[in-house]
Amino acid sequence: MDDKKYRQVRVLVVFFVGVIMAISLLRESFLLSTAGIVTGMLFLALARSKTSISLDEREKTIREKAANLTYAIFAPTIGIGAFLLLFPTHSGLSVFAKGEFYYLESLGMVFAYLALFLIAIYALSYHFLNKKYGGGGDEE
C-alpha cells in the first residue's frame, strides 16, 4: 500500500469512527463508543503496518518549523493566561472577592503547571538533541 492509499484509508476510518461515536452519543452507549474507537485504532494500525511511509526532508523541515511555531505561540499564551487568571485572585480584586469565579483560580493553576511542563520538556529535549548533534564538547 502506498502513502496515498493509506491517507484514503485513514480518512475512511476517521469517518467510520465519527459515525459510530455519533450513534453511541445518541444511544448513550459507552460500550459502542469504546468499540468504535478500538476498531478504528486497530484498522489504522493494520493499514500502517502494510504501508511504506517515507518522509522526505522538506516534510520534516515543515513539521519542525510548525512544531516550533506552535510551541512559541502556545507556551507564552498559557503562561500569560495563567498570570491573568491567578493575579486578580491573589491581589484581592473585588470581582473575585465574592467567590463567584473561584474556578478561575483552579484554571490558572492548571495553566501555570502546563506552562512549566512545556518549558521543562523543551529544555530536556533541547539538552538531549544538543548532545546528540555534537554540541557542548571542549574546544580543541
Binding site: 517515507s54 522526505d56 526532508e57 522538506r58 516534510e59 523541515t61
Partner: protein, 89 residues
C-alpha cells in the same frame, strides 16, 4: 551584480544576508528527459520537494544536493549556484 535575498523563502542556515541561491535543476532534468515525479523517485523525495527546489522555495540539504549532482553526473556547483557572501571568487 544584483544580489537577491531569499532568506524568508528558503531553508537557509546562513546569517549572511548577501547570499543568494539558484539552481539549474530544471535544466538538468530536461536534459535527462525526466519528469518531476521520476526525478523525485530517483532521489528519494516527493514530487512537491522537487517542485519546491526548482522554484527556489526550498534549499535542499547537503546530502540531497550531492545525490542530485551524482545522479546527473556533474559537480554540485554546476547544479547549485551560490552568489554573494564575503569570499566570492
Amino acid at each position: 551584480m544584483e544580489v537577491a535575498v531569499m532568506k524568508n523563502k528558503q531553508n537557509l542556515s546562513y546569517d549572511d544576508e548577501n547570499l543568494s541561491f539558484r539552481n539549474k535543476l530544471k535544466v538538468f532534468r530536461a536534459m535527462h528527459e525526466l519528469t518531476q515525479e521520476q526525478l523525485a523517485e530517483k532521489i528519494g523525495v516527493s514530487r512537491q520537494t522537487v517542485n519546491a527546489i526548482e522554484a527556489d522555495k526550498y534549499l535542499p540539504s547537503l546530502g540531497l544536493a550531492f545525490k542530485i549532482a551524482k545522479l546527473f553526473k556533474v559537480k554540485i556547483e554546476e547544479v547549485f549556484v551560490c552568489r554573494g557572501g564575503t569570499d566570492e571568487s
